[in-house]
């Protein structure tokens, strides 16, 4: 167990150490200053603007910025849907897969354009290499860039001194892709290839097992997709079992690198934020609040999984560590990863908006399985998704400033901008849209016959599957309590006879789209509202937002909003399950 805690400590230390250098680099990129990649990427950037006929220096108000973002995302959605629906006629399809059913394609297109990567389809048994590369991986790049765009607009709204300009969407998008996501993906992709993650356009390999049976080993251009899957808070696996698959995550080192890639950019963006607002302590205060929640969740899930389930104890299954195994609740976990690495991943992937997994969350203990749900329930603000995590956190900061101001009778203002009724209304809506979407859709899915068709397990576990499915989709996470499905796939060559469960596909797709873009529009509206305000100097009545006291207040607001929203639902699923000795 000590080794497990040491792994976690080293991981956290590396994240903290890499935050300032990457954060400072991104601050230079988004501040329009020269970086070491400028000689290489600068000409490409300028060529892109010329081809798009965009003037990158043209400042946009929040409505123009939002319009460009929505149009771009709509175009992405249509393109991806068409690629999936016409898969059969495209090249790079060595297994000869059919095109996707309309409802599953609707869900998948919504999933990847909303940066969710919820997967009803099975990667290696459903999608051609063309669909994976030209369809999904392209979205894996552009959607985190869109998230960063919304964040940058909000930051500019906070610091704006004159006018209402929030920057230029096309410039922010291009810079995110060329200076941050693409270079990092190349580095991570090469590291993964060195660790045995496959990268080939060849079809599946057929191997003979020791018993003489034939086994088909799915291959494909995986490493290039896995790199951006982790760096861009995407999480959709090339293979169905995601990062538990040796061809997707083969060694302890690849496991560490992938895990690091999940939090690297979101964590560093807090430092970038400090730089861009000119107050580094503000960035560190937000980082501290994120880290506090992260560590609190880790110290719940790791002992819970090590302890095992009541059912395992009742059955006399040994759960203590033995030589060569960490012991604990190993159902659904890779022996090579053990408890700490699996539990750390489960926490990391759900506090960010990543959603990739290296173990089956469905098999976690009741309490352990509640931790991923808690990560989702806090709105994924603990480092969070690329861009989305920090802009949601900034909404919470504005709410905490307002609450704190009311509590101590001080003027609610943030970095010199007065926070008034309009901002608080927009902030409240921005924070509450997602939980509302979760509870409404999970309620519908559990109360209707059509919804219960997707459930695999009985009892509280079945409820947890449903709640988790909509928690994950509404939060644009993409991980799953894997029993829940919207796709039925017979064992037929070329995917013949596969069909979707339309209710789950359509409800999920609509939820992902709504819960992605409505908060983004509200964030941009907050940015536009703040940009129009003058900055007043801090006085004795100003609530400081860079102190440990404020960090505690911020954590308290996040936990309270999440707990008040989701506690009744959690009672019906993981909590009741962890109180019984029955195995669900």
């Amino acid at each position: 167990m000590a080794q497990g805690w040491l792994q976690i400590a080293v991981f956290v230390a590396v994240v903290v150490a890499l935050t300032p250098p990457l954060g400072a680099y991104m601050a230079r990129v988004y501040g329009g200053r020269r970086v070491f990649l400028s000689p290489l990427v600068g000409p490409l950037e300028r060529l892109t603007y010329r081809l798009l006929r965009v003037d990158p220096s043209a400042q946009q108000g929040w409505k123009d910025y939002a319009k460009c973002m929505m149009l771009f995302s709509l175009f992405s959605w249509v393109l991806l849907y068409l690629i999936l629906r016409t898969q059969g006629i495209h090249p790079f399809n060595p297994e000869g897969f059919d095109s996707g059913p309309w409802d599953v394609s609707f869900n998948t297109a919504s999933s990847f354009v909303s940066n969710t990567n919820w997967q009803y389809y099975g990667g290696e048994t459903t999608l051609s290499y063309f669909s994976q590369m030209a369809g999904l991986t392209v979205q894996n790049f552009v959607t985190p860039a869109v998230g960063v765009c919304a964040l940058l607009a909000l930051i500019r709204g906070i610091v704006a001194r004159t006018g209402t300009g929030l920057g230029n969407f096309w410039q922010d998008l291009t810079r995110s892709l060329y200076y941050v996501l693409l270079p990092l993906s190349i580095v991570v992709g090469l590291v993964l290839v060195s660790q045995g993650v496959v990268q080939t356009l060849d079809g599946a390999a057929v191997a003979k097992t020791l018993e003489g049976a034939e086994q088909t080993l799915a291959l494909g251009p995986a490493a290039s997709q896995i790199a951006i899957k982790q760096l861009g808070s995407n999480g959709g696996g090339f293979f169905n079992v995601n990062s538990a698959m040796p061809f997707e995550n083969g060694t302890a080192f690849s496991n560490f690198v992938e895990l690091l890639a999940i939090v690297l950019i979101p964590a560093a963006l807090t430092y970038t934020y400090g730089k861009l607002v000119g107050r580094q302590r503000e960035g560190w205060a937000i980082f501290a609040a994120m880290l506090a929640i992260y560590l609190a969740l880790i110290v719940v899930v790791v002992p819970a999984e090590q302890h095992g389930t009541p059912a395992e104890h009742a059955a006399g299954t040994p759960t203590e560590a033995i030589d060569g195994s960490t012991g604990g609740n190993l159902e659904g976990k890779e022996q090579r990863n053990g408890i700490a690495s699996s539990a750390l991943w489960a926490t990391t992937t759900t506090v960010t908006s990543n959603g990739s997994v290296n173990s089956a969350l469905d098999s976690y203990t009741g309490l352990g399985g509640m931790v991923p749900m808690a990560g989702l329930g806090t709105g994924e603000v603990v480092f969070g998704g690329v861009g989305t995590g920090l802009y949601t956190m900034l909404l919470y900061v504005l709410l905490a400033v307002f609450v704190g101001g009311l509590m101590v009778g001080r003027t609610p203002e943030y970095l010199g901008k007065k926070i008034q009724a309009r901002e608080i209304k927009l902030v409240s809506l921005g924070i509450l849209v997602t939980p509302l979407a979760v509870l409404a859709t999970a309620g519908l899915a559990i109360a209707t016959r059509a919804g219960t068709r997707s459930i695999y397990q009985a009892g509280p576990q079945g409820f947890s599957e449903t709640l988790y499915a909509y928690l994950s989709q509404a939060n644009n996470n993409g991980s799953a309590f894997a029993g829940y499905t919207g796709f039925v796939q017979p064992h037929a060559p070329g995917n013949v006879g596969a069909y979707g469960i339309s209710f789950a596909d359509l409800l999920g797709g609509a939820t992902m789209t709504l819960a992605r873009f409505l908060p983004i529009v509200l964030v941009l509206a907050v940015a536009g509202s703040l940009a129009g305000k003058t900055i007043s100097p801090a006085g004795p009545g100003t609530l400081r937002t860079d102190t440990p006291t404020f960090v505690v207040l911020l954590v308290g607001v996040i936990v309270l909003v999440g707990a008040l929203t989701f506690f009744p639902a959690l009672l019906l699923g993981p909590i009741v399950q962890s109180l019984t000795g029955r195995l669900f």
């Binding site: 209304k425 409240s428 309620g443 109360a447 219960t452 509206a525």
Partner: protein, 39 residues
């Protein structure tokens, strides 16, 4: 939602009633929140 639509979706009468009431309350709260704002 009409009774037949509720039956079609497999909702019980009580669930359907609760759903309609909560939707109405939600729409009213949203209206009250945004009333007077120029968005």
């Amino acid at each position: 939602m009409s009774t037949s639509a509720a039956a079609l979706a497999g909702l019980s009468g009580a669930d359907a009633f609760g759903l309609v009431v909560s939707a109405l309350v939600f729409v009213y709260l949203l209206y009250a929140l945004l009333r007077g704002e120029r968005l």
